[in-house]
């Protein structure tokens, strides 16, 4: 037991010495969940019932949370890559940790690319993609260089801006009189099959399952006992906001138009024309995209970085930010040759690969820990007897 404690101490000492508060964690989680999901045609495979698919996805997210929560309770001072080694052993755990890091980096790259593509097709068609990606990554690298505390405080500021943007956007959409609730009827038009399919293949993993990345950040909490409340609150609130936005898009545009649009929220807000004066509010959507993608990519990138620091026993994460940032620039440029390929790839990854990282590996860890705990108990009770 003593040896284990000692090792735990050593592991946590390689991490940055920083603390984030409950509010900061909430802001980070909320912004993270909004990332791209609020802009793209999210859950639209379920047609008019996409709100239901999103709700079901959220419920799956809550179930997943309890798996992560259990693991966190077992190893409150360790990030995900730390306890994979504890659970699966030194070598296998190390490899699984590495896989997680590659997965996090991939999602970072994916998000940055999505951001570039959206900005390109919505507002700045002549700008080269590379310029946008470099600027975004530079900003991300800078904030991560300053550390997770700074990111947390930035999130606190930006969540207020995002909420204000969201409220004004919603208000204008309602007052412009384009909302037609008939577009959401009838309920269950195509039965339960498409809803369940979307809920389990798409909406549960993106973005609710992606919260697995926060298991890397939990050791930084200044009050770990508040984590359960914060996580659930952020999850449910963001689920409701996503559900609301998806329904609003359908109510304004109709399902067919949402399916056709690459970024339905942009078209929804484009319909606002109040008194021939309040119009062309695209900038609200572009800002939302900018803020949310910035935080989502930053969080994934940071978790990958501290994972690398943990696995390769480096001194701090600052020294590897720029080299890995450079790799990410080229990776995101070579990710796909066109937008359709990009979307197709993300669909494939979302439906077939993420499930291992979001569900199967954590579940395996849960089972292994439970079995171990039982053996330990038996051991201790036996030793008590003798």
């Amino acid at each position: 037991m003593l040896g284990l404690n000692h090792q735990e101490m050593r592991d946590s000492s390689t991490m940055e010495k920083a603390k984030i508060s409950a509010i900061q964690l909430f802001a980070l989680m909320f912004l993270f969940e909004m990332g791209t999901a609020v802009i793209i045609s999210y859950g639209i495979d379920a047609k008019k019932d996409s709100w239901l698919a999103i709700m079901l996805g959220m419920c799956v997210g809550i179930i997943l949370f309890f798996i992560y929560y259990f693991l966190f309770r077992q190893y409150p001072n360790l990030p995900l890559t730390g306890y994979t080694r504890k659970i699966f052993g030194k070598y296998l755990g190390w490899i699984i940790g590495l896989l997680y890091i590659i997965f996090f980096l991939y999602i970072t790259v994916h998000n940055i690319r999505s951001f570039g593509e959206l900005l390109l097709s919505s507002t700045m068609p002549k700008t080269p993609l590379l310029a946008l990606i470099i600027l975004m990554l530079l900003a991300i690298c800078y904030v991560l260089y300053l550390g997770i505390e700074v990111l947390g405080r930035t999130a606190e500021v930006f969540i207020v801006i995002l909420i204000l943007l969201g409220l004004t956007g919603n208000l204008f959409i309602f007052f412009s009189g384009n909302v037609d609730l008939h577009n959401l009827q009838p309920f269950l038009e195509n039965g339960w099959k498409p809803i369940l399919k979307t809920a389990f293949l798409e909406t549960s993993s993106f973005p609710f399952g992606q919260m697995v990345v926060f298991t890397m950040l939990l050791p930084y909490l200044n009050r770990p006992e508040s984590m359960k409340k914060v996580w659930l609150f952020a999850l449910i609130l963001s689920g409701l906001v996503l559900c609301w936005t998806a329904s609003l898009n359908i109510a304004v545009l109709g399902t067919e138009n949402v399916e056709r649009s690459t970024f339905p929220l942009l078209s929804t807000i484009g319909k606002v024309d109040l008194f021939e004066f309040i119009q062309r509010l695209d900038v609200i959507v572009v800002f939302t995209l900018l803020i949310t993608v910035f935080f989502k990519a930053s969080i994934f990138f940071y978790c990958a970085l501290i994972g690398i620091v943990d696995l390769f026993k480096l001194k701090n994460h600052q020294q590897i930010i720029l080299p890995i940032g450079c790799i990410l620039i080229f990776w995101s440029m070579s990710l796909a040759s066109n937008f359709s390929e990009h979307i197709g790839e993300s669909r494939y990854v979302d439906s077939y690969i993420t499930v291992y990282f979001h569900i199967i590996i954590p579940l395996l860890m849960l089972v292994v820990t439970l079995i171990r705990n039982r053996f330990k108990k038996n051991d201790s009770s036996e030793s008590n007897l003798t």
Binding site: M124, T127, H182, G254, G270, R280
Partner: protein, 402 residues
């Protein structure tokens, strides 16, 4: 602290490099397009469409200049080019114009009748949706008995930019007369994804060539004018028929888009001798399924007051008003039935009854969807129920006529 000068230098440098962007558009390098017209080009594929743009002549529009005296330069200029797609034709205009065309300020789009009748317009609007430059908030109109090119070249009085004149007229028509509506591009595109559509028309009165000159507005009564006229029924993107007058208003009434209008009633023995100013109207469409057959119910509730009387009638009496209300109900119902008949005759469900049925019974709708337009819709029973209220008679009860 040694870093400070370098940091400041980098910050100063970045203000130079990071300000502005690749996609900047300088005002002096742009030709602002106020309207686009699309016509049929020729039968060859290379020249399928003829696209006309109306470019604003900024110097002429700017305030202070047009105040007094005769203008010498037209406020707008049109350019045309042909191509196999709209986007191509628009680019082909470039050699004819001084600067780059700038589209975000488009106010109007018109479509020539030939194109609407022969080629169909179902596939015409994809470029508007796809390009982030366009807003889908401008109206799309169909030119009655003429080409879009001719409509765009007519000089109009009072409002120097012709497209602004058309849109202004359209808006006030919708607000006060209710026979035609603003067929906004996003609504048109939504209709085009179905089978049936309803688009407002615009027509030229007089000789288009005579209208293409500033002389047109030097006269008090301009010889050539533009007028909003007719509702075009489209089926699978092709123009079938024009609705006008009562039929048109009935159609707008069913679509719940009438805000204000005038309804004429008989005043004692004088035909159409009394007019009601309809201030509000609300239409609700519901569907019920009986014996696997849909029945549509249209309920209209409208309100108004009396605005003109041509015979001696005592409007202070409640009984008289009630009689008038009955008459008004009958009148509105007739208009709605006329519109329904026209729709059924053309086998074109531009009232979107199909969606109402889908909301009521999605399973049945899936079954009948494919035969709906051709077979089931013309045979479907439609019940119209109108409730009319005349609330007051203005500042007088009895008219001065005896």
């Amino acid at each position: 602290m040694n870093h400070r000068p370098i940091t400041i230098l980098i910050m100063l440098l970045s203000t130079v490099f990071l300000s502005g962007c690749w996609d900047r558009a300088e005002l002096q390098d742009l030709d602002i397009v106020s309207a686009i017209g699309i016509d049929k080009g020729s039968d060859e594929v290379e020249n399928r469409y003829m696209v006309t743009v109306q470019v604003i002549n900024e110097g002429q529009i700017a305030s202070g200049k047009g105040g007094g005296g005769a203008k010498e330069i037209a406020p707008v200029t049109t350019y045309s080019a042909t191509g196999s797609t709209v986007a191509e034709s628009l680019r082909k205009i470039a050699p004819k114009i001084p600067q780059e065309l700038f589209f975000p300020h488009i106010q109007l789009m018109v479509i020539g009748e030939d194109l609407a009748k022969q080629e169909g317009i179902q596939d015409l609007f994809d470029w508007i949706e796809r390009d982030s430059q366009f807003r889908t908030l401008f109206p799309i109109l169909v030119v009655k008995n003429n080409t879009a090119k001719n409509v765009l070249k007519i000089v109009t009085s009072l409002e120097p930019i012709p497209s602004a004149k058309i849109v202004g007229g359209l808006e006030s028509t919708q607000k006060t007369w209710g026979e035609f509506v603003m067929t906004r591009a996003d609504k048109v595109i939504q209709q085009m994804s179905g089978n049936a559509a309803l688009l407002t028309g615009v027509q030229i009165i007089g000789d288009p060539d005579e209208g293409n000159s500033l002389k047109n507005v030097q006269k008090i009564s301009p010889p050539t004018e533009l007028e909003i006229k007719g509702l075009g029924i489209f089926k699978k993107g092709k123009l079938q028929k024009w609705l006008e007058g009562d039929e048109a208003r009935g159609a707008i009434l069913i679509n719940n888009e009438v805000t204000k209008t005038i309804v004429d009633l008989n005043c004692n023995k004088k035909k159409k001798g009394l007019s009601i100013d309809m201030m509000r109207s609300k239409t609700k469409i519901t569907a019920k399924i009986k014996n696997n057959k849909p029945i549509i119910y249209i309920a209209v509730r409208s309100e108004g007051h009396i605005s003109e009387v041509h015979c001696p009638i005592d409007l202070g009496k409640h009984k008289v008003i009630e009689k008038l209300e009955k008459q008004m109900e009958k009148e509105l119902k007739e208009e709605i039935l006329l519109a329904l008949e026209a729709a059924k005759k053309e086998k074109s469900d531009f009232f979107r009854f199909g969606e109402t049925i889908n909301r009521e019974d999605p399973k049945l709708w899936k079954k009948i969807k494919n035969q709906w337009d051709e077979e089931i819709f013309p045979e479907t029973e439609v019940n119209v129920h109108v409730q009319a209220f005349i609330r007051r008679s203005g500042l007088r009860t009895k008219p001065y006529i005896k």
